[in-house]
Structure formats: structure tokens, C-alpha cells
Symmetry: C2
Subunit: 431 residues, 2 copies
């Protein structure tokens, strides 16, 4: 008889089970079905992504690379995690066929930024935010399906990124390119900046690529990008992320770029202050680093103190202990300055805090997780329809009520629920 | 009638013509014929490279990647410059066929380091010193022949370098890899070092690649590597090259690597001092930078002061005004410590000083050029056979007398004569 080493963390296993018993049926019966029912474009293939508060198509039908690839990722990952049966894999497969047929640049390599519903290219830019999801989605599809196309296109996207986007003078990756991979201008066109966001998404993508291929080069590039993030893009004192940098990784006041949708909120055209960090992004990066370390079979103690800094900053200044949920952003050393609640930050903080609870075995992170779960369950989710509202006021009043648009799709919400369920079960095993 | 702007530099045009009248027949009737006659392996294809002082094959027949590719480059470049008629192009073509058949790694990409005479792989390492010549030789062949194979393999080699060798954390390129492109260990295996030598050869290769393709990505990578060289690998005060660096471009005392032939002279196993620079390498880099700027259509005034620093250091401390020729190496601030005369440094200094004379329009560089020419003509060249001796004492006495070995082949000598002739004619046009 095996005796398990159980820990008394002051967490009631019944509460853990209760949350599982809510999240899992919600995922199976509401969240995945919403996307499976509404998003698949039965007429032209690929996915539709613009939905109002009632889950009705808004009539906008352009197909952004981000949404196509995020749906492929989500559906493949749901299948790999054991949800949705063949419907999820089939959804992913038809999405894959659409992007391979219409979004893929056969001449210069990589993926176009926007097509119309039928697949006609509307914006042929090569933007790393999208290319990174090319690796991530194709690798997840390869892992989920075992079909060679997933591996083939994940590797091709990786190769084209290495060829065209790396800055071989200073390290890191450039982000904004024309179709032929020549760099865009600087300033609002972004051709002279490097961002935390894109490097984080490349790390996430290279992690899943390496999980699939176990190739030395994919391992090395993953290690290199982890080092860029941890050594060059975080505030050395607080561990918090800085948003934008020049070529030498000198932090710059963050501006909104012309060709991406970098911000949920209305932009007034001014740069953000330098001393400003995004809690949800930080906690997302923390759990993605832990995930990468696990797959690399690296000793997590090497980054534990850094991860703790990030988690504690989000815990102290990001969590809204009064109304629940996590704020948008604020300075390193004090309370939040932007107290709205974005859907994706709630999602990443839910995954992140349960991950911190597992890593550090401390109840405080469970408390933060439970806070996130409650706010999401009671305020973010449109339970009648299935998906989450885009943006809430601090108290949970819905501010922007749409459920899907040019980049808001199933990626953050479905991934958060799947990853949280996985971690809740791991937690139950040690309680 | 066109009136030319003629300059009075104190250089006698008759002397310029006289040097042309010696070098050109030597190139056509002695130097190229030596390699065309002796080096082509009529039995197995590719090139033989081991020759004693009489130009006789030594019996060693392994085929190093360096020598195969350098011969392809040299023969193609001679053809493009109008020498040797079809014989040079045919020689290059059969060499190309050999390496594509035997030296090319069909599975992992890139080129093997050493094969035997028949083409069986003896060392399957991927060493950037060799890979860089993959780009250089294939691009030159493409330019010379117009055949698509040259462009195809130059681009493939470029792509595999970008995928596998760039250090995307810190910039620059790693150099020592196993067959599957996993990095070799550090120390004498070199897996933790970056070198001036390899970065200079990559610049030279990317220059010719860009000359052929005019692709934006080849331009950008060329610009990036010029910046690595000029901003990170030169002594800021003297403009002189430092040999080896850690990943962050911190200079390291140079050691001899296990898998390359980094040194003509007997190595005693000790690292070189940090304050030590190689005159011939510096002047070679200077003219290669000028060449790259010209092809990039960049304003050469941006680097003129740097180029002048390099040239003047070699002029002041490298040139042996007593016995002629250029010394091997010495500290930044004082006279040479190694006063032997290596064949390849004489070759590069001949091209380099005539290039400096054209760029700066100063007679001092003509004097240095003439010094090099005289020493080469009177001491280095084995006129009976055609090729140059490997290493001379300071006074010109032959020390190492072989004419070819694992990396000494036609590359430095033929290129120097072709490039010098081209520049002498340009000089005549302005005198």
C-alpha cells in the first residue's frame, strides 16, 4: 500500500473538488460548445471571430491570423487534454487547412496577417505576434493529432522566424515586417522595437515545439529566449515585465503600434510611463517559464526566486481583494493605476496563481487563485452563452461586452480552464 | 573630349604599370595553372590540396571542406574576373559536384568538415569557419556561372546558419557544432566562444551572397554582422581586432581549438595575451568592410576613421620596413612580438594597402603596398612552381616550405593577385 506524502496547506480539498465540479462541466457543456457551434465557418473554412454580447455574429468576417491560429491551438489542445472528442480535432483540422491554403505565403515564407472571409489577403504584413502562434498552433496540432502536417508547418515557421526575425547583432527578435521580411519603419510601425509580449509568445511557442520534436536546436532557441526574457526584459528589482525596448534592450515608454491591437482600452496616443507593469502579463509569463523549465527538464530552483518576485508583485498590487479579480497595470512599487479588469488577465492569473500554489506550496497563492476563480465565475463569464465578456469595471460591471473580435477568441479562456483543471487535480493529489 | 580628374599622389604610373605587367602574366601563366594542373582530382572529383615545396602531391588526400570550397570560390572568381577561360569554371563546377554529392549533410543541413579522397565522411562536425565558405563559394559560383545551383546552395547554407548558429540571446554566431547542430563543449572544443575570424568570414560570405541575390534579408544580416565586427570585436582605441570572446563579447585570451587549424605556428598550448592583434587579419577585415560598404551602397565616410585606424596600426607596427612584408602579430601600442611572415598575411596586406591607397589617396599606403609586393615577389612566391611558400623567417628565408595543406590553397594567393590587379587599374585611372 502506497502512502502519499500529503501536505497540510490549510486548503480544504472539498473546495478544490467543488471548483473542479463547476469548471469541468462549464468547459464541456458551455465554453467549448460555444466556439464549436459559432466559430467554425462552414461555408469557407477557418473560423469566424466577431461575436456580440449574446454570442451573435456581428457581421464582421475578416480572418485575422491571430484568431485562426489561436482557434487551431485551442481546439487541438482541448482534444489533447481529453475534451470535446473528435469535434475539437476536426475543428482544428479544418482551420489548419484554411490557413495553409490562404494565410501561408508560398513565396517568402511565414503567414499573412489578415485575409477576408474567403481567404483573400487583406494585409500581407509579417508580424511576429502572429508568426509565433504559427509555431504554437502547428506544434499543438502535431502533438494532438500525430499528423505530420502539424510538425511540418511548425518547423517551417520556426525556420523562417530564425532566418528573418532574429537580431543577430544584439540578440532578440524584431517584430514588424513587410511581406518580404524587410523591416517596417520605426515609431508606430514598430520596426525599431522589441517587446516583452512577442518574446513571451515566442517562448510559449518554442516550448510546445520542443515538446513535440525534442530537437537540440529547438531546445537551444527556447533556452536563449528564456534568457532574453529573464535577463533583459524584467525589472531587476521587482521581477516585473517592461513592455518595450530598443535594439539594445534599453526600456522605452510603450507606445501603441499601428498594425496590431495592442490594447483593449482606448489609446490616447501617448506613451505609457516606463515604471508601469501589467500584472496579468507577468503572472502569465511566470507560469509559462515554469512550464518551459519542466519540459526542458531544467532545475526550477534556478528561477524560483525570480518567479516568486513576479508572483508576489501581482499578489500584492494586482489582486483586488475588495471586488475580486486582477487589475490591469500599475507602477512597480505601489498600487494599481489602471483598475479595470480585462478578461485575459483574469484567465492568466487564475492559471498562474494555482501554478504558484503548486510550486511554492503556500496558501496565499491559493487565496489569490480562489479570488480569481470567484471573480471569473461571478462576473466575467456570460453563463448563458458560454464565453467571457471582454472588459469589466473594477466592481465587475460589464464595460465592453463583446465575446469575440480580431484577437479575443478561445485562446485565453479555454486554455485557462484546461490548465487550471489540470493543476487543481495535481493539488488534490498532494492535499 | 573627356578630361579626367587626375591626382598627383607622388606615385609613378610607370611603376604601377610595371607591377601589373608582372602580376598579370604570373597569375595567368603560373599561379592559376599550378592549381588547375595539380589540384583537380581527376579520379574522384573535388580537389587535392597537399603539396610539398616542389608542388608534388605529398600523398595526403583527405578533403577538407575549407579547401574544397576555397578552390570552388577561387576558380569561380578567376572566371568572373576574366581569367583562365572555361578551365577555371569547369574546375569549380566539378568541385561543386563533389561537395554537393559527398560533403553535404542531407539530413541536418550544412556541410561536413572532412571527407576522404573518395568522399567518405571522416569528420562530420559542423564548423562555422567551413559553413561560411559554403555561402561564399556557392555565391561566387552563382555569380560566375549564372547556374541556379550556386544560388540554391548559397541560400540553403545561409538559411541553415541562421537557423542553427546565431546566438539569439546575445547576438553573433556560435561556431563549433556536432553534426546535428548541437553545440560542442567549451574550452578547446570552442563551443562557448565567438571569434573575430569566423565573423569576418561570414561578413565576406554575406557580402557576395547579397551581391548575387539583392535580397533584403541578406542585406540586413550583412549589416548586422558588420555591426558586430565594428562595434564589439575591435579595440575601441586602436581599431585592432581582438581574436576571441565569450558569449557577451567580453574578450578572452585566445586559445587554439581542437577541431580547426587556427595557427600556422607550433602551438605551445598557452593562451595568447589579450593585448595582441594580427596585422594581416586587420588589414584583410578593413578591405572586406570597404568592399561590403560598396556593395551595400552605404556611405563609406561612416567607417573611414575606423578603417584609417586599422590601416595605420598595420602600417606603423605591422610593416617590416627593413626586410619587407608584414609581421604576424603584436600588442596594440607597440612593435610586433611575432616577426615571422605568413603567406596569407602578405596576400591580404597587398590587397589591403592598395585598397587604402585608393580610399585615402595617400602615398604612404602605396609605399606599404609596394613593400608587400616586393616581398611577395622576391621571397614568398616559388616562381618555378607558381604558388607561395607557407611561412618565412623575418628576413625572407623559407621556414615552412609546403605549398598546400589542409587549409592553405589558392584562396588567399589567387584572390590577392586578382583583387590587386583590379585596384592597380583603378589607381592608374586616377593618376
Amino acid at each position: 500500500m502506497i502512502t502519499k506524502n500529503r501536505l497540510d496547506l490549510g486548503i480544504d480539498p472539498k473546495r478544490v473538488k467543488e471548483i473542479i465540479s463547476r469548471l469541468e462541466p462549464y468547459l464541456k457543456n458551455k465554453l467549448l460548445p460555444f466556439w464549436l457551434k459559432n466559430s467554425i465557418d462552414e461555408k469557407y473554412g477557418g473560423f469566424l471571430s466577431y461575436f456580440d454580447k449574446n454570442g451573435k455574429a456581428t457581421g464582421k468576417t475578416d480572418k485575422t491570423l491571430i484568431c485562426q491560429l489561436r482557434m487551431i491551438f485551442t481546439m487541438a489542445s482541448a482534444y489533447r487534454a481529453g475534451y470535446g472528442e473528435d469535434r475539437c480535432l476536426k475543428a482544428a483540422k479544418q482551420g489548419l487547412e484554411f490557413v495553409i491554403e490562404y494565410s501561408r505565403d508560398r513565396e517568402y515564407g511565414g503567414w499573412y496577417w489578415i485575409t477576408d472571409r474567403q481567404g483573400k489577403v487583406l494585409d500581407d504584413s509579417k508580424i511576429m505576434y502572429g508568426q509565433s502562434f504559427g509555431v504554437y498552433a502547428m506544434a499543438e496540432y502535431g502533438l494532438a493529432s500525430g499528423e505530420p502536417a502539424g510538425r511540418e508547418y511548425a518547423e517551417k515557421t520556426f525556420d523562417i522566424i530564425q532566418r528573418n526575425a532574429a537580431d543577430t547583432s544584439n540578440g532578440g527578435y524584431w517584430e514588424m515586417f513587410y511581406r518580404d521580411w524587410s523591416l517596417k519603419q520605426g515609431g508606430v510601425y514598430g520596426g525599431d522595437r522589441k517587446t516583452l509580449d512577442v518574446h513571451m509568445h515566442l517562448m510559449e511557442a518554442f516550448t510546445t515545439l520542443y515538446e513535440m520534436t525534442v530537437q537540440p536546436i529547438h531546445k537551444r532557441k527556447l533556452q536563449e529566449i528564456i534568457r532574453i526574457l529573464t535577463e533583459k526584459m524584467l525589472d531587476p528589482e521587482f521581477g516585473t515585465g517592461m513592455a518595450q525596448f530598443d535594439e539594445h534592450f534599453q526600456p522605452l515608454p510603450a507606445i501603441l503600434f499601428h498594425d496590431v491591437w495592442g490594447c483593449d482600452r482606448t489609446a490616447n496616443g501617448e506613451a505609457r510611463p516606463l515604471n508601469n507593469t501589467n500584472y496579468g502579463h507577468n503572472i502569465e509569463m511566470a507560469w509559462l517559464i515554469i512550464h518551459a523549465f519542466n519540459l526542458l527538464n531544467c532545475d526550477i530552483t534556478l528561477v524560483k526566486s525570480l518567479i516568486k518576485k513576479i508572483a508576489n508583485h501581482a499578489y500584492e498590487f494586482g489582486v483586488d481583494w475588495e471586488h475580486g479579480g486582477i487589475f490591469v497595470e500599475g507602477p512597480n512599487h505601489g498600487p494599481a493605476t489602471q483598475t479595470l479588469k480585462e478578461f485575459w488577465q483574469q484567465a492568466e492569473a487564475m492559471t498562474g496563481f494555482i501554478d504558484m500554489c503548486l510550486l511554492f506550496k503556500e496558501k496565499k497563492y491559493w487565496d489569490a487563485f480562489e479570488n480569481m476563480f470567484n471573480f471569473i465565475w461571478n462576473k466575467c463569464i456570460n453563463h448563458e452563452i458560454g464565453e467571457w465578456y471582454a472588459l469589466l469595471e473594477r466592481d465587475g460591471t460589464v464595460k465592453w461586452d463583446y465575446l469575440g473580435h480580431e484577437w479575443k477568441i478561445s485562446y485565453h479562456t479555454v486554455r485557462a480552464v484546461i490548465q487550471t483543471l489540470k493543476r487543481l487535480r495535481e493539488l488534490l493529489n498532494i492535499l
